[in-house]
Amino acid sequence: MDKLPIEILKKISNRKIVSLIVIPLLVAFLVNLYLIFYFERFSPNPFYFIVNKKLSILKKIDKKVDWLVVGDSSGNQGVNPAIIKDSIGGSSYNLCTFADMGLMDGCWMLDYLIKSDLAPKNVIMVQVYDSWNRNVYPALFGQYPFSWIYRKAVEPELFIPEQYRKDVFYSHFLPIIHQADRIPDRIKTLRSFKQKLAYIDDNGYNPYTFGVNEYEINADFKYHLKYTTDREPYISPHNLIAIKYLQEISENTDINIYLANSPLHDELFADSTFNKFYTKLNEIISSHFNESGRVHYINNPPILFNKSLLQSSDHLTDEGAEIFTRHLLKEISKAKLE
């Protein structure tokens, strides 16, 4: 047979062994250090990027805000603070993130401002219908400040299982492990990333200006139809904790809270199965806020949009966001009168 390969040991000095161990580890350490700072601004993970951006805006707030907009991605690209400011004046910021955080991070951001003596006068909380049954997605914990997760610096408090505390640590201090898998994707999509996600206004608005993609809308439509079939609506334990917090805020402060349904695709809302689910969910949500004087449940039923103004079933284009923002302001005026 062809001669089999063997292991031929090589002589080496102590110095060389040490250099072979230390230098690669040092290189990895330095790369990790660089990534800690780089990813805080430009995380290759689009979810992380948006959370980091919104948190950096939050930390820069140094005056009491008139209109704080929090919530999920439907609000992130659906509510334009500049329109609020132009319409009714006052300062406004959009700190919406993702449905995977439910109501929780909106409450945390609100609490952060309250504890910093910068309590906003009004809070608009935009939530898509399918965020209500979700508990907070642990992978996102790592993007929130250490003190929020480990030292419970903000309320409401959330019990985070030990396995996810590890993720928080890795996300903050070992991005080379935690986020580096996205680097190859980022390199491939760098240009489009810079166009799409990197553009977030200083007021936090993340406009969608890249045209309507019918395929995406149709696929999302099917997803939501499937989601609401053979399923009962409910509110997740984490969101119940958040609701309790909002009720306490409404009782103990003079902050006005406007809990708004996200915009919706008209064809989706017209589907009977979806509509039944949605209506039942709204009844459940309303029941929690019936006696909360300062928490107003608005945009119920939701304002509907056709495909030409949508990116997906609940995400609007920039033109759609203008309509939605103005609609919310009308809803808020109506609520104030009531």
């Binding site: 047979m1 062809d2 001669k3 089999l4 390969p5 063997i6 292991e7 031929i8 040991l9 090589k10 002589k11 080496i12 000095s13 102590n14 060389k16 062994i17 250099s19 072979l20 161990i21 230098i23 690669p24 580890l25 290189v27 990895a28 790369v31 590890k166 080379i176 492990i177 935690h178 580096a180 898998d181 680097i183 190859p184």
Partner: protein
């Protein structure tokens, strides 16, 4: 505890520090390693520590008694106790449901309604490895190739040594026990080789194997969505995955052992460069193939009793070798396939390297590479049998494996190319120089750069969540 997990890093660091702090006493080191090995195994499921302990106790006392026994009948009885005990443990935990289900299927085939009890038996990790390892001890004592150890701790460590406990290499007592029973002198060359083996092992596992695994799973788990060249790609991806995964684990195990001063046997010697099936089994999972050769094939008579019996022995050995891999008919068929190939090659006389393939002339090189390619294609076909979940899937592959690309082919080929390229380059150099540690000949500065790049690639391209090694399921 997986090698590619943060828990293991912490565990190994603590063990290493404690190990070196006990360097004046190898007995204390052995106790430390034994406890560590039980912690390592128990981390997965502490309930199955009882099985390792049972196997250890039985074989230690059988070995001791066997050595002192002169009566041949009694010697055979003692050996039987060891083999029966180990195979019973293995048979129950690994094969009970398989045989029960198969028996039921046979009954149903003949119109009888069988309803065998199927137990929810958990397969203990590593059971196929440590039972074979400990059986080799008693068999070697029976064959008077080995004297038993008097030290129970040493023997217990031999059975449970954590670097190779759950996925090999399956060590022989003649190799490992003497290393356990004396003070280890850890040479710099060993550390040098160990560092490379660990790094290269992780690279093969988390970068190459895990990424190829994603591609293989995508094709195999959704096979009806693919056809043509994509199906070939699925098989190639799996062949890279299983090699990277298993040889990666072996390298990490051997590298860790080297840092502790132990030399474990080489388990892979560039198997995809084999020119015939005998050569392949001298290169692939060597610890298992040599175990099967020494304790099964030779016990059956080997090639000493004429051609027909040789073929029978080859077939039976490979069939059982396939069954060793798992309680599933495709593993048995895979074993049978390799048995048939071995028999065919033996029949045509291509067992040793023919004269026409020796030397460096063009014709000889061409013939050698031609043989390698044929053997590789045979191996790839074998991996198809190994990987499929059902007969339908196998038939689908055979029916739709034509040479036509799809819209995915280009993307798949790029993935295969980029992830297999480092492996191919390394293996070509290892093959040309006949040295598995050839890369250590590079100048130090180049090695530092190479190691740094490999480490970064492991972090960036490696799987985020620790994924199990394929051979853990065996």
């Amino acid at each position: 505890m997986l090698f590619n997990s943060t828990v293991f890093f912490g565990f190994f660091l603590i063990v290493l520090i404690a190990y070196f702090s006990f360097k004046k006493s190898y007995k204390l080191q052995n106790i430390l390693l034994l406890i560590s090995s039980y912690v390592f195994y128990g981390y997965w499921d502490w309930r199955f520590l009882f099985l390792i302990a049972l196997s250890t106790v039985i074989d230690f006392f059988v070995g001791k008694t066997l050595h002192g026994e002169q009566n041949e009948r009694k010697r055979k009885q003692l050996l039987f106790i060891s083999v029966f005990a180990n195979l019973s443990i293995l048979g129950f935990f690994k094969y009970f449901n398989f045989f029960a289900d198969s028996f039921t299927d046979v009954l149903n085939l003949f119109g009888f309604h069988g309803d065998m009890i199927t137990l929810k038996v958990i397969l203990p990790v590593g059971i196929s490895f440590y039972t074979f390892q400990t059986m080799s001890y008693t068999i070697d004592i029976y064959r008077k190739k080995l004297k038993p150890t008097k030290d129970f701790i040493d023997f217990a460590l031999f059975v449970s040594f954590f670097p190779q406990l759950v996925a090999g290499p399956i060590e022989r007592a003649v190799n490992l026990l003497p290393q356990i029973s004396k003070a280890r002198i850890i040479k710099k060359e060993q550390i040098y080789a160990g560092i490379f083996l660990i790094l290269w092992g992780y690279f093969k596992k988390v970068v190459i194997a895990d990424n190829m695994g994603l591609l293989a799973d995508r094709i195999f788990n959704n096979y009806e969505s693919f056809h043509g060249i994509d199906l070939y790609i699925g098989i190639i991806a799996f062949s890279i995955q299983i090699y990277g995964d298993f040889s990666g684990y072996s390298d990490i195990a051997r590298g860790i052992a080297k840092l502790l001063g132990f030399d474990l046997m080489v388990n892979f010697r560039l198997p995809y460069f084999a020119i015939n099936p005998s050569d392949f089994w001298n290169r692939w999972h060597i610890s298992l193939s040599s175990w099967l050769r020494d304790y099964l094939y030779i016990s059956l008579g080997g090639n000493r009793k004429g051609n027909l019996k040789t073929y029978r022995n080859l077939g039976l050995t490979m069939l059982l070798g396939g069954l060793w891999h798992g309680a599933s008919w495709n593993f048995v068929l895979w074993g049978a396939f390799h048995g048939i190939i071995l028999i065919v090659y033996r029949y045509i006389g291509f067992v040793k390297l023919p004269d026409g393939m020796r030397g460096m002339n063009i014709k000889a090189i061409f013939k050698r590479w031609g043989s390698m390619i044929i053997m590789l294609l045979i191996t790839l076909f074998g991996w198809l049998i190994f990987r499929v979940d059902s007969m339908d899937q196998f038939e689908y592959f055979l029916k739709y494996m034509y040479l036509r690309p799809s819209g995915f082919t280009s993307e798949f080929l790029k993935l295969i190319f980029w992830f297999s390229l480092p492996l191919i380059i390394m293996q070509i150099f290892q093959h040309i120089k006949k040295d598995l540690l050839v890369v250590l000949r590079l100048p130090n500065i180049i090695l530092i750069v190479l190691f740094s790049i490999m480490l970064l690639i492991i972090f960036i391209f490696g799987a985020q969540e620790a994924s199990e090694f394929i051979y853990f399921q065996f």
